[in-house]
Amino acid sequence: MTPILEVEALAYAYPDGHQALFGIDLRIDAGERVAILGPNGAGKTTLVLHLNGIHLPGHGSVRVAGTAVAKDSLKEIRRRVGLVFQDPDDQLFMPTVREDVAFGPANLGFRGADLDERVHQALAAVGMDHVAERSPHHLSFGQRRRVAVATVLAMEPDVLVLDEPSSNLDPASRRELADILQGLEQTILMVTHDLPYALELCPRSLVMNDGTIVADGKTADVLGDRALMEANRLELPFGFDPRNIRP
């Protein structure tokens, strides 16, 4: 079976010369939920920005469902891979929630009743259908994060990539978002520092450091490996022991 995401020997340097990725190899199958862990500056966001072609590979390749990410495939790639950014104020830029959720599918050419249906479905999936006519600014932070997820769901992507989905959320909003993500059938990739969240939502975790993947395995095993964790500046919250959590 073709993996939904396949990254081979990916290296990338920013225009200012800073080398952010040094040969990433990665294979993710459809329906997997994978966490990307690692300290600040490890290259997690740079990797994520390659998955929908915001950055094009400097070296190596990125394939989404068999299609190589390149200039001429961007439209198809961006439909297939949805990115949810960390700050919902960056993601929600239209005057109303409805227009914001409609932005992606409208760029794909949807209009009229088809477009309305997509917007409705996406908002219903995150339980935010009732705020469609409101301005994103007037929603709570948790609601904005959920609407940000809806803006991407409306494009019906195969892969959902989330950058720090639980950051700045209060415990109840964090829980509600987890429930929503659990219910989605898409392949999910999430960059996070919230290790219990990774354990709860993602059976598999990758650890990145200095632009390479240094570990790839079951989340419970990764979090249980003290030497690995310490070497990569990862720390579990006080009192949290992954061995006490049943899968």
Partner: protein, 255 residues
């Protein structure tokens, strides 16, 4: 905060004026203002009729007169400028010595006061009965350049975000004992303004990234495909049509 102010211009209601399609209201308002401006200033009665027409529309839309009066204060700088004209303009003078008033100046002042006030009142009624996003959609329907409507809608969307950031920076300054009283203490505020500019610029880049991620390729999609009903156009046309009759009458009397 500018943003809060902008979004609170709308006076919620369900009058026939509120329900009109935004593009019809916009077109009617612009046409009305042009006709008012084109009316000869000497026909004072015509401006009285215009004012009555606007009062009628405002009543229909149930916009409180007090609110219109308060918002008219934005007109004040122009009125202040107009008040100087009779003292400084040349031509025939009324009165003697330093008590004299220029006739031309008086007419010019009246022209500014009457037309300016009517124009501002028209916008107050328009913004009072139309939410900002609808106004922008209306502009879009009237084929205003897409870049212009997009920038306007971003401005509306982010005014509050940036105002919020500014407010947090102010609190952070004051929390560290900053209490500016003199002009030479402005340094910290200037630094904050610079930081705010850089942050907003970076936010712009991140928003652009988020837009590209959802398939943006330089053209904003058009959502407001719903054309206005014929009835809306006809209803909205009543005000400028009536004004046109008055203006034509004024020109006939004038010549």
């Amino acid at each position: 905060m500018a943003g809060t102010h902008a979004s609170s211009l709308h006076v919620p209601g369900d009058s026939s004026v509120h329900r009109l399609s935004p593009q019809c209201k916009l077109a009617a308002a612009v046409a009305f203002v042009f006709i008012v401006v084109a009316t000869p200033r000497e026909q004072i009665w015509a401006f009285g009729v215009y004012a009555m027409a606007l009062v009628a529309v405002a009543r229909l839309a149930a916009i409180p007169p007090g609110l219109v009066a308060r918002r008219l204060s934005i007109d004040t700088p122009f009125l202040a400028f107009a008040a100087f004209l009779p003292f400084f303009a040349g031509g025939d003078q009324l009165g003697h010595g330093w008590w004299s008033l220029s006739v031309d100046g008086l007419w010019a002042a009246w022209n500014i006061v009457a037309k300016g006030t009517l124009g501002v009142t028209t916008s107050i009624i328009l913004t009072g009965t139309t939410p900002l996003p609808a106004l922008i959609a209306g502009l879009d329907r009237l084929h205003a350049p897409r870049a212009f409507t997009a920038i306007t809608s971003f401005m509306v969307r982010y005014a509050e975000v940036i105002a919020g950031e500014m407010h947090r920076m102010k609190i952070a300054r004051e929390s560290r004992g900053h209490d500016p009283r003199w002009i030479w203490q402005i340094r910290a505020i200037a630094h904050s303004a610079g930081t705010l500019f850089v942050r907003s610029y970076e936010r712009g880049e991140r928003v652009h990234l988020a837009m590209r991620s959802r398939g943006f390729d330089g053209a904003m999609p058009r959502f407001s495909d719903d054309a206005a009903a014929r009835r809306d156009w006809l209803t909205a046309a009543v005000l400028p049509a009536a004004a046109l009759v008055v203006a034509a009458g004024a020109w006939v009397v004038q010549t």
